[in-house]
């Protein structure tokens, strides 16, 4: 590739302190709730307190009559403004016509299907007045039996969508070879479970919609993740041309996959703003955030491993049930697809047959959360591998080493998932290097004697697991670079900043590509006003896709500079030398970037890609378990990941450590709980526990760049999610090793003290 040849890293690869920090540390960030507009109104949303029921009546007369209330909207009002029908939230990823009936309406009509589903929007002069008015709205809902879990979903205890006749919208199949034909000397089948939990970004979601009727312009602040996709969805549903809708990204207080998809509010708030012709702001509160932002992770799976007696894996067979909640939301297809496709992880598995069903329940709808389906798959697989290795009398490290895909087998095909059919292959790397490094870092050999040992009243144990992380989703990303009059450049990219340091790493890439200092680069991102098309930040794609688009734009800009300078020098463009700082020279004559800027120089770059990147690694944990209380202390955790090329070691390591701790939350603490009536039990941060500063002090992340991806000019691989992927498997393997004398085998998360205590009570040595 030509681009790769000319890219010489200089700032790339160095721990540049972040640009973003200068404003964020001084309280000068601009998050959506920091915005104020003249005449701005505030919205609050009435949500269903019934999990499943038929809506008989909504009486909002009292609310409408309250002072300060400017508008109250129910499904009836939305339908009137939308040709009699209620718009639904389309599937953004892996859409299929057969899933369309399960899309969520932007406001409940006829039925409610989960606690938290929007029933009415109140807009008032202040948020307090809007919330006061909510309480006066009378709702009459005829309760229906609730479907609280995947078992009652399968039994059709009630049907969420009567017309469908079942609560199972789809069953995906992941296939490689012919797993059902494999006869093996060793087979073990186990059932595992991961609990419902989710991202819980520190900044709740928020929107500010401004309608300019005179110019037919809808401007929505608070976009994140995928502004162009959100614009397209909103424009269609508001019956506006896309050009009449702009999505503006501000500072975003955490993404993790959950924030920035299209939600009911992404329609309702612009709808209210257009109705009232006034700016309307809505900021989610924490209860709504826990209730109504995408949930994830709730998967039960039966997995069967078939091996030779020497531990060589012959086949994986499995059946997964993914509790989807009440609707199939924008990114809802991904967890059930990923748990099937990535069950085999970084291992050589010649035969795979996995079925994965979406199961509808009367709970909050599910979407992607950092490492979607992969965190779950890794927990299932790595637990099963430890059980198989022990049965076969093979060291568990050796079992993994024997089955890891080798460098020579790259690119290595994994299972194909359908429908729609998606073939997938790993792009390259030496998976044994990260395993060996991880073992060395935690001191595996020295600590091996600790397994199952009782020291000062606690059982010690070590765990290990290997993982891959997919990144770099296509189809494209775009960038544009403009030479400014002062000789600086403005770089515009379709990627979005969700807290990952996009501004800094992108500016590093641009600075090296243009051979200019970072101070001369102005960076703009994530808003539909900047580029005709952009794709955003998800699937660990912003460095690979956005960064490569910037490289392309930089090369195109240099060509434009050559052409402009050639006109001035009256020579051929090929004879113009573009030097550092974008100066142009020819036979002793030279022009600075500022001198050339008057010629109106700009260039665009697009990076198109259909090959995913696969960062990979291994993680290890050392735990101590108090068998009397079930309390587990994580004494040490090390993760090692090869991400192809490190743009900024500070941010790469920072995200790896952060992802590990987020995964530890999902392993030990976090649980979105419902009762049998579908009532939500964890609506505050006092009920839904997040890791705190005292919980996990000893985490280390080592990020390597031994094996650049062959599929992009930077050689980078998506690297923001890998840290979280193996955590559940690795930690529970360590707990199993610690409790081996008691015969306890974790098969479910979270491993809270009561859960571990019960596990010990119910096991037999």
């Amino acid at each position: 590739m030509k681009v790769a040849d000319t890219f010489v890293p200089n700032l790339v690869g160095t721990p540049v302190e972040r640009i973003e920090d200068l404003r964020l540390l001084r309280g000068r960030g601009q998050f959506v709730d920091d915005l104020h507009r003249e005449g701005m109104l505030h919205a609050a949303i009435l949500r269903s307190s019934v999990a499943h029921g038929r809506i008989r009546a909504i009486d909002a007369r009292a609310a409408r009559a309250m002072p300060g209330v400017r508008g109250v909207y129910t499904a009836e009002d939305v339908a009137q403004g939308s040709n009699g029908s209620i718009p639904t939230i389309p599937l953004r990823l892996a859409p299929l016509p057969e899933l369309v009936p399960f899309e969520q309406p932007v406001i409940a009509h006829a039925k409610v299907r989960y606690v938290g589903e929007p029933l009415a929007v109140v807009v008032a002069d202040s948020l307090a007045l809007a919330e006061d008015a909510l309480e006066t709205i009378e709702i009459d809902i005829e309760p229906l039996p609730a479907v609280p879990d995947r078992h009652s979903s399968a039994r059709k205890q009630a049907l969420l969508f009567e017309a469908h006749g079942s609560n199972v919208p789809i069953t995906y199949t992941a296939i490689k070879g012919d797993a059902n034909a494999v006869r093996a000397p060793y087979v073990r089948r186990e059932t595992f479970r991961v609990q419902r939990h989710t991202a819980v970004t520190m900044e709740p979601r928020g929107l500010l919609a401004v309608w300019d009727g005179a110019r037919t312009k809808m401007t929505v602040s608070g976009a994140a993740k995928v502004p162009w996709a959100t614009r397209s969805t909103l424009a269609q549903r508001m019956d506006l041309p896309e050009e009449c809708v702009d999505m503006i990204e501000h500072d975003v207080g955490g993404g993790f996959g959950v924030r920035g998809e299209f939600y009911p509010e992404d329609y309702l708030i612009p709808f209210a703003a257009r109705k009232l012709n006034r700016p309307v702001k809505w900021i989610e509160d924490r209860r709504e955030n826990l209730l109504a932002s995408n949930h994830s992770r709730e998967i039960d799976m039966e997995v069967e491993i078939a091996c030779e007696v020497d531990g060589t894996i012959l086949a994986l067979r499995g059946r997964a049930w993914v509790d989807m909640g009440a609707y199939v939301r924008a990114s809802g297809t991904i967890p059930p697809r990923n748990v099937a496709q990535f069950l085999s992880g970084p291992y050589r598995v010649p035969n795979i047959h996995v079925e994965s069903s979406m199961m509808l329940t009367n709970k909050g709808p599910v979407g992607t959360y950092r490492g979607p389906g992969r965190f779950e798959a890794d927990f299932f697989r790595e637990r099963l591998f430890d059980m198989a290795a022990r049965d076969l009398g093979i060291d568990r490290v050796e079992f993994r080493r024997r089955n890891l895909v080798s460098k020579e087998e790259m690119p290595y095909p994994i299972a194909t998932v359908t429908p729609p059919e998606r073939k997938e292959e790993f792009d390259g790397g030496d998976y044994r290097i990260t395993l060996d490094r991880c073992l060395a870092e935690i001191g595996w050999a020295e600590k091996a004697g600790l397994d199952g040992k009782l020291i000062d009243g606690r059982y010690h144990g070590l765990g290990i697991g290997c993982f891959v992380e997919g990144g770099a989703a296509g189809p494209r990303e775009n960038a544009r670079i403009v030479l400014d009059p002062d000789g600086h450049v403005s770089v515009f990219v379709g990627s979005t900043n969700i807290g990952q340091g996009l501004e800094t790493v992108s500016t590093q890439i641009a600075a090296d590509a243009l051979r200019m200092p970072m101070e001369r680069i102005r960076f703009y991102h994530g808003s539909t006003t900047y580029l005709k098309e952009g794709f955003g930040s998800f699937h660990s794609r912003s460095v690979v896709m956005g960064g490569s688009a910037i490289l392309g734009a930089a090369n195109a800009l240099k060509d434009e500079i050559r052409k402009a300078a050639a006109r001035r020098f009256a020579c051929s463009a090929d004879d113009v030398e573009v030097g550092s700082g974008l100066s142009a020279s020819h036979r002793g004559k030279s022009l600075s970037a500022a001198e050339l800027a008057g010629d109106g120089i700009s260039a665009e770059g697009t990076f198109a890609n259909h090959h995913h990147t696969y960062a990979y690694g291994a993680a290890a944990a050392h735990v101590a378990v108090d068998a009397r209380t079930g309390r587990v202390e994580l004494l040490e955790y090390v993760t090692v990941e090869d991400v192809g090329r490190i743009i900024n070691p500070l941010t790469a390591r920072g995200q790896a450590v952060g992802a590990v701790v987020q995964g530890l939350g999902g392993t030990f603490l976090e649980h979105l709980q419902y009762d049998q009536d579908g009532q939500f039990l964890t609506a505050s941060l006092a009920d839904y526990l997040l890791p705190t500063a005292t919980d996990f002090p000893n985490i280390r992340a080592i990020v390597l760049e031994n094996s650049p991806s062959p599929n992009n000019p930077l050689g980078a691989k998506g690297g923001g999610e890998g840290g979280i992927v193996p955590v559940g498997g690795v930690v529970s393997n360590a707990i199993a090793a610690a409790l081996a004398p008691l015969g306890a085998e974790p098969r479910e998360l979270p491993l809270s003290p009561p859960a571990v205590w019960r596990l010990i009570r119910d096991s037999k040595p």
Binding site: L22, A128, D132, D285, G499, Q655, V661, L690, A693
Partner: protein, 161 residues
């Protein structure tokens, strides 16, 4: 009754201010929406996450759990009051150096909490720093870099003392 307003007067970041607010307004909402000091962030509004922490008469308090009227006559310091136009403070510079923030939403509460701690206990060890910061949630960093940053910033507070 809920909409009755009252004028509250207090010292905010060294300046005397007056704000006319509904009596039920929290200090956090008053700072953000009446006084337009949006550096203080609200993330849970039920006193768990610590993002809204401000310093009232020297103590780190949660501005979501305190009514604006309770600040009458008090000295209130927010992240804006702990910042200068010229350069980052040693505490902020340590956060930047150690990459102790990613999305930055919890950061103002981390800065105010750490400032209150180090002003009172410039010799706080890592365990003490962790204990105090355990009242502030961060979803991005995993806290390790934050503890390192606060630990490094201790030197500046010792000199100040």
């Amino acid at each position: 009754m809920a909409n009755r307003t009252i004028t509250v007067r207090f010292e905010l970041n060294g300046k005397q201010i007056a704000a006319k607010v509904p009596v039920r307004t929290t200090l956090g909402d008053c700072l953000r929406h009446d006084l337009m000091q949006t550096g203080t962030h609200l993330a849970c509004e039920h006193g768990v996450c610590g993002a809204c922490t401000v310093i009232v008469d020297g103590a780190a308090v949660r501005s979501c759990l305190m009514l604006a009227v309770q600040a009458e006559g008090a000295k209130v310091i927010t992240v804006e009051g702990l910042s200068s136009d010229d350069a980052l403070t040693p505490l902020q510079a340590a956060f930047r150096k150690h990459h102790a923030l990613q999305c930055g939403f919890c950061t103002p509460g981390m800065i105010t909490t750490a400032h209150a701690l180090l002003s009172a206990e410039p010799d706080a060890d890592k365990a003490r720093i962790r204990e105090v910061l355990s009242g502030n949630l961060c979803r991005c960093t995993g806290y390790i870099s934050i503890v390192e940053a606060v630990y490094e910033a201790r030197a500046a507070y010792r000199i100040r003392k």
